[in-house]
């Protein structure tokens, strides 16, 4: 059995409905929008391939002392993770306790035509553990196992990496063409509701 990526995204959204969630580029954003609509706690990284986990790392470090945000979630693809792979070492060194990275792994660059990535020969879980992450799991391709893993990730201390293998089937979705300034401001405004700090 292979998990369907939209089903996985819906479960992640439900598991972390009131926490900051950083979404990687391409189909992940478009499918999440089609499933649950635009949400203020979702940060849509429209084209920063390879940078999603690092953005989430900065958020997790910055929100470490905020009570309201128990977790900072990153939904990353295998191709994008491999493009910024050094961040696994940085996360392991800094150990941000709120960071949860869900690697939705279909083994290909789906948005650009399905070219293979190096994911099939890369053990993301072992690399994360060797880099010093608090925990990492390969999630069996069953919905019950996915829900168990997300429940565990909600409660356990991070940084946590979940590798979730999905198929390459994808629904037809529209392009998302919003002004990125609005995306940043909406997300920031949502964070600011309970964070009084200003940069200056």
């Amino acid at each position: 059995m292979t998990l369907y990526r939209p089903d996985v995204l819906r479960e992640i959204d439900e598991a972390f409905a009131d926490q900051p969630v950083v979404l990687t580029i391409g189909g992940v954003i478009r499918e999440m929008l089609a499933l649950v609509g635009r949400k203020p706690n979702h940060l849509y990284s429209l084209d920063a391939m390879g940078q999603t986990v690092a953005i989430g790392l900065g958020l997790a470090l910055g929100l470490e002392e905020e009570q309201r945000h128990a977790k900072v979630v990153v939904v990353e693809g295998d191709g994008s993770l491999l493009m910024g792979f050094s961040v696994l070492a940085t996360v392991g060194a800094l150990k941000p306790s709120k960071l949860v990275v869900a690697v939705v792994d279909n083994g290909v660059y789906l948005a650009t035509g399905g070219q293979p990535t190096a994911a099939s020969t890369t053990d993301f879980v072992q690399v994360a553990l060797d880099c010093g992450w608090a925990a990492a799991r390969d999630v069996p391709s069953e919905m019950a196992a996915l829900r168990d893993a997300l429940d565990w990730a909600r409660a356990a201390a991070g940084p946590i990496l979940l590798r979730i293998r999905v198929g390459t089937e994808q629904p037809k979705t529209d392009f998302f063409l919003e002004d990125p300034v609005l995306l940043a401001r909406e997300f920031e405004a949502w964070l600011r509701k309970n964070v009084a700090r200003r940069l200056v």
Binding site: L43, S45, I55, L59
Partner: protein
């Protein structure tokens, strides 16, 4: 009368950069390796006077990774700076122009200059002398501190450049020449 940057030693220039950064008072200091930045980094690393409770100082392996971490920190409302060398500017351009620049996220970087007068490396000028052109082509705002700038103005320029990044909602870099140029 203030000394010019030209008559200031590496120690004086480094102290001026440190004074500017301490005026910014960053919660997070991200750094990449640089021999010319050694004195500045020593201030923030364990054993240095700038290594204190409430401030996190850590290395990053690539400039583009630093840009993204800075972006997350800025969205979380934290003051942060990345300190790196100008031959890494090329590494960060795509990350800069696909997230903080189009999303209007304020970032701040101290970029040490290589190449030019005082350079001892036979190769590094090939990339470093093009730093301004690269940043201009990318539409990134920068300020320069070198031999032409009175050393007494360096710290306040660094502090004001950080404020300018915040008030104009974009990345701003200060290029600092710690060598004799």
């Amino acid at each position: 009368m203030h000394a010019t940057g030209a008559s200031a030693s590496l120690e004086q220039r480094s102290q001026a950069v440190v004074a500017g950064l301490e005026a910014v008072d960053p919660h997070f200091v991200l750094y990449l390796p640089s021999s010319t930045l050694k004195l500045v980094l020593a201030h923030f690393l364990p054993g240095g006077p700038g290594h204190r409770s409430g401030r996190r100082v850590f290395p990053i392996p690539r400039e583009e990774e630093g840009i993204s971490i800075l972006s997350g920190l800025a969205l979380a409302g934290r003051r942060a700076v990345m300190i790196f060398q100008d031959n890494g500017v090329g590494n960060l351009l795509t990350a800069l122009l696909t997230f903080p620049q189009p999303y209007h996220v304020p970032l701040f970087g101290i970029v040490t200059r290589r190449g030019g007068l005082g350079e001892y490396n036979s190769m590094i000028h090939t990339v470093s002398e093009r730093t301004e052109a690269l940043l201009d082509a990318a539409g990134v705002r920068w300020f320069q501190l070198d031999a032409r700038t009175p050393i007494g103005d360096w710290a306040s320029t660094i502090e004001r450049a950080h404020t300018y990044a915040c008030t104009t909602h974009r990345p701003v870099f200060v290029l600092v020449n710690l060598m004799s140029g």
